[in-house]
């Protein structure tokens, strides 16, 4: 394969694009549409992983209430068990009285006129347990459950500010978006297969002439493949321009409310990914189509 053959292929691809401007615009438009969806999906996946990373480093807390009317001894017991739990980073204790006092200070009307026993119920002695590894959440809760001094009610052990839950949600988004991404990539392969098929049909006479002159299938195919790669690259560039014009400003405005969102470095990886997908889809789609339909 000589240099003049390769340069001819490029020349031929570009020439044919110039001659079919309308079809090229339609193809680019379709590709940009799918690529914008890919870009948004990718941004969601990226942000989800960012959330996960961030949450992982955060301290989480579990609130655990002592049994009703717990004695000093029982409280001391809980404390010593918590001291011995290696998963626990630190904890604070708030007695029933402290809780009540705090509530009274904060919002006197709330507790006004209620009988003493009920207030004790409302503000049981509580532990706020901090830990840093999300994997430890279940272990700590399990251990708390086995402790007789800890309340057995539904709300007696609560994972407050649970990183685990946030990560679980982020992961769901991530999985959904990955599935969506796969689907869109497949869809764009199908789109390319179809548009190549239409193009082969439109050019079937030309192709049969090429074969009469002795052109191999490969020789005929390459300019078409180059054409779809060029189309993909144009679509990637347009998508990136659109995306950076829209995504970054949006994120910058809502960032103050949603501090977890980020846009640093996303354009770089997005460019790489869109180029890879675009070129891959262009090459795979058009070759598959030609292998299937070039037999004229």
């Amino acid at each position: 394969m000589s240099i003049s053959t390769i340069s001819y292929w490029f020349y031929d691809a570009i020439n044919s694009m110039k001659k079919n401007k309308k079809n090229i615009i339609i193809s680019v438009g379709t590709m940009v549409t799918t690529m914008v969806i890919i870009a948004i999906t990718f941004a969601v996946i990226k942000n989800a992983s960012y959330i996960i990373e961030q949450r992982r480093g955060m301290e989480s807390r579990i609130l655990a209430c002592a049994v009703e009317g717990a004695t000093e001894e029982q409280i001391a017991n809980i404390k010593s068990q918590l001291d011995n739990m290696e998963e626990v980073a630190s904890y604070t204790y708030q007695s029933s009285a402290d809780g009540l006092k705090y509530a009274l200070e904060k919002d006197p009307i709330l507790v006004e006129g209620l009988p003493e026993e009920m207030l004790a119920d409302l503000f049981p002695a509580r532990f706020s347990i901090s830990f840093s590894e999300i994997e430890h959440e279940d272990i700590i809760i399990e251990k708390l459950r086995t402790m007789p001094e800890i309340g057995k009610g539904k709300n007696d052990i609560v994972a407050a500010e649970s990183a685990k839950e946030a990560i679980r949600q982020a992961k769901i988004y991530q999985i959904l978006c990955t599935v969506l991404l796969m689907f869109i990539i497949e869809l764009s392969v199908v789109l390319i297969i179809n548009s190549t098929k239409l193009m082969l049909y439109a050019k079937r006479k030309e192709i049969s002439i090429m074969k009469y002159v002795g052109a191999t299938d490969g020789f005929i195919k390459v300019p078409f493949i180059i054409e779809s790669v060029i189309i993909s690259i144009i679509a990637v560039i347009i998508t990136l321009i659109l995306f950076s014009a829209v995504y970054t400003p949006i994120i910058e405005t809502i960032k103050t409310d949603m501090s977890f969102l980020n846009c640093d470095g996303i354009l770089g990886s997005l460019t790489m990914m869109l180029l890879a997908i675009g070129i891959g889809v262009g090459v795979v789609g058009s070759s598959v189509s030609m292998n299937k339909y070039l037999d004229v």
């Binding site: 044919s16 030309e206 002795g214």
Partner: protein
Amino acid sequence: MIRFENVYKTYATGVEAVKNANLEIDKGEFAFIVGSSGSGKSTMIKMLLKELEPNSGRIYINGADITKLPKNKVPNLRRSMGVVFQDFRLLEDKNVYENVAYAMRVIGAGKRAIKRQVPNVLSLVGLLNKAKAYPNELSGGEQQRVAVARAIVNNPVILIADEPTGNLDAENAWEIMSLLNDINRRGTTVVVVTHAKDIVDKMEKRVIAIDKGVIYSDIKRGGYINEHKYN
């Protein structure tokens, strides 16, 4: 150079287009294949180009049996032959120069060779001044001359033409035939399927006549062929 041995071709529809064809055309020969419409002339040409497979029999080109040729070698076979059709079959998206150059590009010819050879054949067919024109900007005669230029640009050993003058007026027809004759004089074996009786008579070449798929006459140097079978 070209040899048919007991070649039969029956189409899927049951039409027996070629029946027991036996034929030998030597290197450097100029042969006409004549016969009424539907007699099987194009079918023979298509088998030579391996566009169709015979049902039985053997076809040799340059001593090699092309009925045994694997599919991926077909482009090589076609490169060794130049072909011209009644409907010109030029690439509409490419200008005259590029149409001729295309035949060289498919064989991987270099830039230099293309730049040298394409103007050569274009001047041979008298179209050097139309190199930049597109097929739809040319007359039928001119388009056919481009097709001839493309057919000979790689110096094929065989040139096959299926009714090359079918769409041309008498003057242009004669011009194309003289062109083919010139090419034959330079050593290329030329096979021409035609209905142009007066030209065949005038040129006094070998005439192979076929009717209903059967070769019924093969005259070495022109001459009269039964009028009602050959129009």
